[in-house]
């Protein structure tokens, strides 16, 4: 059994949460999955301790990637948003970081920004490059 990295486990848990239906059995909003439910789903093809899954889900909640709500004695977890929404959010943050321009930026972009005028001039300059 290959040893799964913590990152792989977090991703697997998120995939379970993303796959959860939007509506619950009574037609209202889905309440979220418990650790037991996620552990059950994940243990189908691997050997996984319940406490491991609990730790991972708690970490995801602390990183604010999932929401955590108490339901009786157990916690119910929901992904903060769909995968597509979270990706779009991350892209927006990334672009905002690039926009900081002369201030310090956390990320290093290959192309930070461009305008239509830039592209025209760039194409002309590229044509003047000799090959290889």
């Amino acid at each position: 059994m290959p040893l799964r990295s913590l990152g792989d486990l977090e991703r697997s848990v998120m995939e379970q949460l993303w796959a959860a239906p939007d509506t619950g059995p009574d037609g209202g909003a889905h309440e979220g999955l418990t650790v037991r439910e996620v552990h059950g789903a994940l243990s189908e093809d691997r050997d996984l301790a319940y406490t491991t899954v609990m730790t991972v889900m708690d970490r995801l909640a602390r990183k604010e990637l999932v929401t955590q709500e108490k339901d009786g004695r157990a916690y119910r977890y929901r992904a903060r948003a769909s995968r597509a929404a979270m990706t779009a959010e991350l892209m927006r943050e990334t672009l905002a970081d690039f926009d900081a321009h002369d201030r310090r930026t956390a990320l290093t972009a290959f192309v930070e920004d461009a305008s239509a005028e830039d592209v025209a001039a760039l194409r002309r300059a590229l044509d003047q490059l000799d090959p290889a």
């Binding site: 990152g7 995968r83 943050e93 201030r103 310090r104 592209v119």
Partner: protein
């Protein structure tokens, strides 16, 4: 009394006019490595001269058995200013450093979580693909968090050769730890945003860092691929489907980079000149001003 004046004048020159002038010499970009060394030498010498000016004023007025009131007051003021300058640098260093590292860690966590498998980059270590149409390529720098991130939009628009060139460019940033140099100049700008040329220095160093990464990626006959990748990704930012998401501002450094991709150099004379200047900026004040002052204290 000459030492504080000399060091003070040196600090003022190296913090203001010299960097401003250097930033207006685009030829220096044809020897990016030597230019980087010179910029770092000027920044270091400016800080050392500023601190040295304050300290030498303290020693020249108060380093006697029983100083009078006026010299004592000057010495105290000088010491206070020196401590403030050093304190500001240390505080900025701490704030900027922790801020950047926290942002990068958070970004890496989200990227790892949201990344998709993509056969166009399988096997490439620490590369993540985000499922979004906006063409982006960037890296998350830092020893423990380093990642190269490409969007599906970028992979869709680039040929395999262009992807290789982009990955090589980003990896060059990570391997050379360009983030550390940028952080240092960012700290200087954060600590002293006005009255000195810290903004010009930061902008120029950022461009030099991109040119250096372009150089590393353009080896092995990949010049054309690198250039066309640059233009393709710039184009994608302007004409992409998520136009509202993309800021689409102007970036004059792109044109500089494309032109320099074709520059084969090696411009040995210029490189030697810039490196000599870098050495001189550090060694000459140390030998002719600082050492006599320090030995004169005994």
């Amino acid at each position: 009394m000459a030492t504080p004046l000399l060091l003070g004048a040196l600090a003022v020159l190296l913090a203001g006019p010299v960097p401003a002038l250097l930033a207006r010499l685009p030829r220096t970009r044809t020897t990016p490595r030597a230019a980087m060394v010179l910029w770092q030498a000027v920044a270091l010498a400016a800080v050392l001269a500023a601190l040295g000016a304050g300290l030498s004023l303290v020693t020249s007025t108060a380093w006697r058995r029983a100083p009078d009131l006026a010299p004592y007051a000057i010495a105290t003021a000088a010491l206070l200013v020196t401590v403030l300058v050093l304190g500001r640098l240390l505080v900025s260093g701490h704030l900027v450093g922790t801020d950047l590292r926290a942002l990068r860690r958070r970004h890496r966590d989200q990227v790892d979580l949201l990344a998709r498998e993509d056969e166009r980059v399988t096997g490439a270590a620490a590369v993540r693909v985000l499922e979004h149409d906006l063409p982006l390529a960037y890296c998350v720098p830092g020893r423990k968090v380093e990642r190269v991130v490409l969007s599906v939009g970028a992979l869709d628009r680039l040929s395999p050769d262009e992807v290789t060139a982009v990955l090589a460019h980003e990896r060059a940033h990570l391997q050379a730890r360009h983030d550390l140099v940028l952080e240092a100049f960012g700290v200087l700008h954060h600590a002293f945003p006005r009255w000195v040329s810290s903004a010009a220095a930061l902008a120029e160093v950022r461009l030099l860092v991109e040119i250096l990464a372009d150089r590393a990626a353009a080896r092995d006959g990949r010049r054309r691929a690198l250039g066309s990748a640059l233009v393709t990704l710039a184009e994608g930012r302007v004409a992409g489907p998520d136009y509202a998401l993309a800021a689409a501002g102007s970036d004059p450094s792109l044109l500089v980079r494309v032109r320099l991709i074709g520059d084969r150099g090696p411009h040995r004379l210029q490189a030697a000149l810039l490196l000599t200047l870098a050495g001189a900026v550090l060694v000459v004040p140390t030998a002719f001003v600082v050492l006599p002052w320090l030995t004169g204290l005994n």
